[in-house]
């Protein structure tokens, strides 16, 4: 039986279209899934809590800048919960060779992430009362907190520090804390994230 050239052409075109559609569908379903609020994530051993790698900043050796260090932080579904866990990790003892930029006794009271990417982080009064003062120390404290959230959570673009639930002018008389601050990478050592 003779097959007309038109039928052959139509068949080939239909087959090509179906094949391309199928390939695109499979490719879409197998695409890598990214969580926008987590910079890096990795699978954890079975049974252990899933963790992410967060870049946190501590006082550098020169005492004038922040040094970056990677820490494991328990994974959270929501941005605000992940932010809380990151700040709690920052409050833990610093890695060997580095010093915490936050004064002793500092504790997190609460954390809220607004719709425009502003995070409000509420600390207890120790953040202020135990602070040693000096603009260098204050800058390191403020930007260790700001960078912890803005570097690791792209959904957070600026951070306002509260003390005991209240807005404050400054922590120790220098940095203006009356509004959310964006990250300022110049306070980190060159090469730090």
């Amino acid at each position: 039986m003779a097959v007309s050239p038109r039928v052959v052409a139509l068949t080939l075109i239909t087959a090509a279209a179906v094949g391309t559609g199928t390939w695109l569908t499979v490719r879409y379903l197998n695409r890598p899934v990214r969580r926008p609020e987590v910079a890096r994530s990795e699978a954890s051993p079975a049974g252990a809590a899933r963790r992410i790698k967060a870049v946190l900043h501590y006082v550098a050796a020169d005492g004038l800048r922040l040094a970056a260090a990677e820490r494991d932080v328990v994974y959270a579904e929501s941005t605000s919960e992940q932010a809380r866990r990151i700040v709690e990790a920052l409050l833990e003892p610093a890695p060997a060779g580095l010093a915490s930029a936050l004064p002793p006794g500092t504790a997190l009271r609460g954390l809220f992430v607004g719709e425009r990417g502003d995070a409000y982080v509420d600390f207890n009064g120790s953040l202020r009362t135990n602070h040693p003062g000096g603009s260098a120390s204050e800058i390191l404290t403020v930007y260790a907190i700001v960078s912890a959230l803005t570097v690791n959570l792209p959904a957070i673009t600026s951070v306002q520090i509260l003390i005991e639930g209240h807005e404050v002018d400054t922590l120790a008389g220098h940095i203006d804390l009356r509004r959310p601050l964006p990250n300022a990478p110049q306070w980190a050592e060159k090469g730090s994230t």
């Binding site: 006082v59 050796a61 020169d62 005492g63 004038l64 800048r65 010093a99 930029a101 009271r109 609460g110 809220f112 607004g114 719709e115 502003d118 409000y120 509420d122 040693p132 003062g133 000096g134 603009s135 260098a136 120390s137 800058i139 390191l140 639930g165 209240h166 807005e167 002018d169 400054t170 120790a172 008389g173 220098h174 940095i175 203006d176 804390l177 009356r178 509004r179 959310p180 601050l181 964006p182 300022a184 110049q186």
Partner: protein, 524 residues
């Protein structure tokens, strides 16, 4: 709004987790609060709850005709008047009124059979249900109930002279009358009461300044007193300043520079700032013709002060003391050798709010603002001086553009006509001066480098609170690190302080040359 929701959420969660009831630990209070109302003046006793000062609720309730009831099941106090009601949580500083939750600085505390509440509960919770406005002024331990005029009055005698100059600040602006008596001047205010703040006066032709009666300040005069001139000048916000220049017998009368002369000297003199005088007032020189560019007034800001000590060295050196010492030295040198007017934002050990520091510079039309500080780092090896000027990181791009491109606006002036006045947002005043601030910072750094060790980051930008509202080139100088034992010794030595002072003096001289060169068309 987002912040309020956050605070409410945090507080509610905290309440669920924590039920710690604050008990009054010491019934002994500090000095009582004065309450000024249409019914007169009375006092309200205070008591301490832990380290927090509280007011006695029973006395407030009697004053405002409130009914107080404890709801033990709900762990709350219910305070009511008629159908108005507010519920104060006993667990934490939270209150509820009309379906809205708001925070207080502390929860109520029990003092035996009495209840105590924090002072802010008066204005936020109690007065609203009584239907009156309350203005709680903690600094002066005063509560103003109702729409009464009780201006805050502070008196400062400027150093130096002659003439002897008194600056009396009034917030809000208040009409007054000056009456001259044989041995004193009486400044009588048109108000319902006075909230008299710090009075720093004495010396020269002034023996003392004190309240003569509830509405009058008395200026006791030295025997050499001859005459006086008074002038008023509006300040930013709701304040105004009355400047009184006193001259000795035989000395030529002075005219308060840059200010509108309000009245002559014939006793009794009367000056009521808001009311137009029959005689046409002189238009002050500062308003009639713009001064040529230059550096005529420098404001030096010794950081911290009072309870805000700044940093402290291992040996106990306090930043607030160190920077005040250097500020005074710098004032002497600039005054004696450059002939410029020099003002300090504080000349003693007291707290000065950041905005007030900027106000002093702005209201005196300063040409330079220099904030002095000493540094600290967690690492004891950190050392060296640093110079900062403002970074606008904290402001949005739109706000920065608005501040940088602010245009002068025509406003009416006394005597008719208009004058272009720069109307700028207080919080962004520095934005327009960043270029000049950077230039001055470079000069300061160059001069410091010649005499003292600099840090590895000698010139930097940061969002410093004290610089934000300065409406002139402004820098913050960190002289060195008190946390570094070696630098602690240096910083406390006369030699080091004088090297810093000489550096700043030379930087001001160079900057003045730059400004004058720019004005004459010679680009430095």
């Amino acid at each position: 709004m987002r912040l309020r929701s956050f605070l409410a959420t945090v507080s509610i969660v905290a309440a669920a987790l924590c039920a710690v009831r604050l008990e009054a630990q010491s019934p002994q209070g500090t000095a009582p609060y004065s309450v000024v109302s249409a019914g007169g003046r009375r006092t309200i006793a205070t008591a301490m709850a832990g380290d927090r000062e509280m007011l006695r609720l029973d006395e407030l309730a009697a004053l405002l005709q409130l009914t107080v009831r404890e709801d033990r099941a709900a762990k709350a106090l219910t305070v009511s008047r008629g159908t108005n009601l507010v519920v104060l949580s006993l667990d934490q500083g939270l209150a509820s009124m009309g379906g809205k939750i708001f925070s207080l600085s502390a929860p109520p505390a029990r003092d035996g059979s009495r209840w105590l509440v924090p002072p802010d509960a008066v204005s936020r919770a109690l007065a609203p249900i009584a239907g009156v406005r309350a203005d709680v002024r903690r600094a002066s331990r005063l509560i103003v109930l109702g729409d009464l005029r009780v201006p805050r009055i502070t008196v400062q005698q400027e150093p130096g002279g002659p003439p002897t100059r008194l600056a009396i600040e009034m917030t809000p602006r208040t009409a007054y009358t000056i009456v001259q008596e044989p041995k004193r001047l009486l400044v009588r205010f048109d108000a319902d009461g006075l909230d008299i703040g710090p009075i720093t006066a004495g010396g020269g032709l002034v023996e003392s300044v004190a309240a003569a009666d509830p509405l009058t300040l008395a200026i006791a005069l030295a025997k050499d007193f001859g005459t006086f001139r008074a002038a008023t000048v509006p300040m930013d916000g709701a304040s105004s300043r009355l400047v009184i220049d006193l001259t000795a017998v035989g000395a030529p009368p002075s005219v308060p520079s840059g200010l509108a002369r309000a009245q002559a000297t014939a006793p009794p003199a009367q000056a009521a700032p808001p009311a137009p005088s029959a005689a046409r007032p002189e238009v002050p020189a500062a308003l009639s013709a713009p001064q040529p560019p230059g550096v005529r007034t420098v404001v030096i800001d010794p950081g911290h002060g009072g309870d805000e000590e700044g940093t402290r060295s291992a040996g106990g050196v306090l930043e607030k003391d160190l920077v005040l010492d250097v500020a005074r030295r710098l004032r002497s040198v600039l005054d004696a050798r450059l002939g410029v007017r020099v003002l300090l934002t504080r000349d003693d050990d007291r707290v000065v709010p950041h905005d007030e520091r900027a106000s002093i510079a702005n209201n005196n039309k300063a040409d330079l603002f220099i904030s002095l500080h000493a540094n600290s780092s967690p690492n004891k090896s950190a050392k060296g001086a640093e110079v900062f000027y403002l970074s606008l990181d904290g402001l949005g791009a739109e706000a920065r553009k608005l501040a940088e491109n602010a245009e002068p606006k025509p406003v009416p002036v006394l005597g008719g006509g208009t004058r272009d006045i720069d109307l700028i947002l207080w919080d962004m005043a520095q934005a327009r001066h960043l270029g000049e601030s950077a230039a001055f910072a470079m000069l300061v750094e160059e001069e410091l480098r010649r005499r003292v060790e600099m840090s590895s980051n000698p010139v930097q930008q940061a969002p410093f609170r004290v610089l934000v509202a300065a409406n002139m080139p402004a820098v913050l100088v960190e002289m060195g690190f008190l946390s570094n034992p070696e630098q602690e010794t240096q910083l406390t030595s006369d030699d080091f302080k004088n090297r810093v002072v000489q550096s700043l003096f030379d930087a001001v001289v160079r900057y003045r040359g730059r400004v004058e060169a720019q004005a004459s068309g010679r680009v430095p």
